[in-house]
């Protein structure tokens, strides 16, 4: 057995030469401590696989706790925006509400539409679930908290999160329900469209940093808040907002929640799902939400790097989580502010505004890179000055508008 692992299958992958932490761990820690009898049949490759499986197991067990917290947070934040208190009965201040809901969903009937495509129907939630969790593998949560450091990290994330739309279409088509099909078609159109501005705004960062690796992107932002990519050039500042709005569209949240518009098509692609399968969709949705926020933080807001160079303030894992939750809160804020877009408005926004602006950004970033060969005080200073002047002038124009037309008062 060990011969198979050492000679055959893993020969091509060549784990020995890579600087994988799991391989190092096995070589340095586990192998020396094994008993003689076992050590002969134990190869580094087999050990690496076992260590990785254990890590993946821990990861898959821990990450679903995130949606558990986020669902409660969403409900509480939503309640605050409407001057309510949200769930208050289960546990202190309703903190166990999500657990209670999960328990309820487990005990519910697992309904499968008899006319639908059974195999695809059963498979769809797992496709979405697996893909949205696979994204977490490439996100650096801290300096050493990174499951896998791909050299194509951000590319991998883009690719794997695009597979989610496959699951959505599978769910919609196999349900044999017009609502589901309409929802999944909308979702497909939306996600495919918004992948483009998302990818293009990521491209500006890749141009600036010169690497696709998530670790290197974070490492290039280690000089405090002004070296965060969002402030590196005026174009990345615009790119951040395009990225963020596209990401909201990507995870099907309000105001881009056409795929599950409850007032139009019941619940969209998961109309026919119930019980634990519905819970999987739900968990995947919130995991996705956290994932895109984490990607946004990693790419634009310094990742786990702190605000000040050399200090740990707002850095490391806690800092990363705080920044990510900040973006999640922004998503919730937008959700309770904006009404749902129409389909034509959605496409209009993407194709007529985001994509041209993204191309303009890429062009601008290229020129910026030509002018400032390296990131130094000058380039960052000029960039921040431009952003500052643009914001101030926009604020001045807005102030003039405000003076002309009184703001609608909440009743």
């Amino acid at each position: 057995m060990s011969d198979f692992f050492s000679d055959g299958f893993f020969k091509n992958i060549n784990l020995q030469d890579s600087s994988n932490w799991a391989t190092d761990f096995v070589q340095d820690v586990i192998i020396p401590r094994l008993p003689e009898a076992v050590a002969g049949h134990f190869s580094v490759e087999l050990g690496t696989v076992i260590v990785m499986l254990v890590c993946a197991g821990i990861f898959v067990a821990v990450v679903p706790l995130l949606p558990l917290v986020l669902v409660l947070a969403e409900r509480k934040v939503a309640a605050r925006f409407q001057n309510r208190t949200g769930p208050m009965r289960v546990g202190p201040w309703g903190t166990l509400q999500t657990l209670a809901d999960g328990l309820k969903l487990i005990f519910k009937e697992d309904f499968i539409p008899p006319q639908g495509d059974k195999v695809l129907f059963l498979l769809a939630p797992y496709v979405i679930f697996a893909c949205s969790f696979a994204v977490f593998a490439a996100i650096p949560f801290g300096q050493d908290i990174l499951v896998s450091d791909f050299n194509i990290g951000i590319f991998y994330i883009m690719a794997i999160s695009s597979v989610i739309v496959m699951g959505v279409i599978m769910a919609g088509w196999s349900s044999n329900s017009k609502w589901s099909l309409l929802g999944s078609l909308r979702s497909a159109a939306q996600i495919v469209s918004y992948e483009i501005p998302l990818g293009l705004s990521i491209l500006t960062i890749v141009m600036l940093v010169g690497s696709l690796s998530m670790r290197e992107i974070v490492a290039s932002q280690d000089g405090g808040i002004f070296t965060w990519i969002i402030f590196r050039s005026p174009f990345t500042f615009i790119a951040f907002f395009i990225f963020f709005i596209s990401a909201i569209a990507e995870v099907n949240r309000t105001p881009f929640d056409l795929p599950e518009a409850e007032s139009e098509i019941v619940a969209g692609f998961h109309t026919e799902y119930s019980g634990m399968r519905f819970a999987l969709f739900f968990i995947a949705e919130y995991a996705n939400m956290f994932a895109v926020s984490a990607i946004g933080v990693t790419l634009f807001l310094g990742g786990w790097q702190g605000v000040l160079p050399g200090y740990d303030f707002l850095g490391g894992l806690p800092g990363f989580v705080i920044k990510t939750l900040g973006l999640v809160f922004l998503m919730m804020w937008l959700r309770w502010t904006l009404p749902r877009l129409r389909v034509d408005q959605l496409m209009n926004l993407c194709w007529k505004y985001f994509i041209p602006i993204s191309f303009f950004n890429i062009l601008g970033t290229g020129i910026w890179g030509l002018i400032f060969k390296e990131d130094d005080v000058w380039s960052i200073g000029i960039s921040c000055a431009i952003i500052y002047i643009a914001l101030i002038s926009a604020y001045a124009i807005a102030g003039r508008n405000l003076a002309r037309r009184p703001e609608p008062q909440p009743s």
Partner: protein, 239 residues
């Protein structure tokens, strides 16, 4: 191109205006009452005044009740159950007395001097044999600890709102049950009550009296102990 940039500006601007409105709401105090645990009137917020004469929970002041069973007869849903009996001839629970309701809400139970005459509220009233100065719930207690000093009082007639004469009680009520789960709040029983002892509570306590058990909604107003007739007595009487 001008329109394009104007559109972008308008979009960003209107989103920001909306976000400003929502974030203001975020920091507003919430308006939720945790209802069964926290009542409106406890929060002193959004409390609306309950109109006078609101038909709430039924309450019977058993001391004034004469057991005429008119309310039981008139009740359309038969939610009132009364059983009672007369005392043996010659026995009575107490002598006749006057209940003087004052305008400030107090009650004095005693005998008005010169009762044979027609009441003249312009003059001063002298009340003798005062047994109680408060609610009728304490009638028995006061009867027992009656000292001589405070048993006579003179008040001006303008303070008095009404006077009810209690005749000697020659009966006792075994059971005066009102099943509020059946009651339809028509108020007929309160209108028909000759002594005005059966009333509907028009405060919040008379409105929010929900219970977890349906049997808790059957209210017993029979105060057996009032008649000095507890269970041991009846057992002895049976022997």
């Amino acid at each position: 191109m001008d329109k394009y940039i104007r559109n972008i500006y308008k979009g960003v601007y209107t989103v920001l205006v909306g976000m400003r409105i929502t974030i203001r709401q975020f920091f507003e105090p919430n308006v939720t009452h945790q209802y069964p645990y926290e009542h409106d009137f406890e929060k002193k917020q959004n409390v609306r005044e309950i109109p006078k004469g609101y038909r709430g929970q039924l309450y019977n002041r058993i001391e004034d009740c004469i057991g005429c069973k008119k309310c039981e007869l008139i009740c359309p849903v038969d939610c009132i159950t009364i059983t009672g009996d007369k005392l043996p001839k010659g026995e009575q629970l107490w002598d006749s007395m006057n209940v003087i309701h004052l305008k400030d809400g107090r009650e004095i139970i005693g005998l008005i001097e010169g009762e044979d005459k027609k009441l003249n509220l312009d003059e001063e009233l002298t009340i003798t044999n005062i047994t109680s100065r408060q609610g009728p719930q304490e009638v028995i207690d006061r009867l027992e600890q009656s000292g001589d000093e405070s048993r006579t009082q003179t008040i001006s007639g303008s303070e008095v709102s009404r006077v009810v004469t209690r005749n000697p009680v020659v009966f006792y009520l075994d059971q005066f049950d009102i099943d509020m789960s059946l009651c339809m709040y028509c108020g007929l029983c309160t209108e028909v009550c000759p002594t005005e002892c059966l009333t509907m509570i028009d405060t919040l306590e008379g409105i929010e009296y929900s219970k977890f058990d349906r049997t808790d909604l059957i209210f017993n107003f029979d105060k057996q102990e009032m008649y000095g007739k507890d269970e041991t007595d009846t057992a002895e009487a049976a022997d």
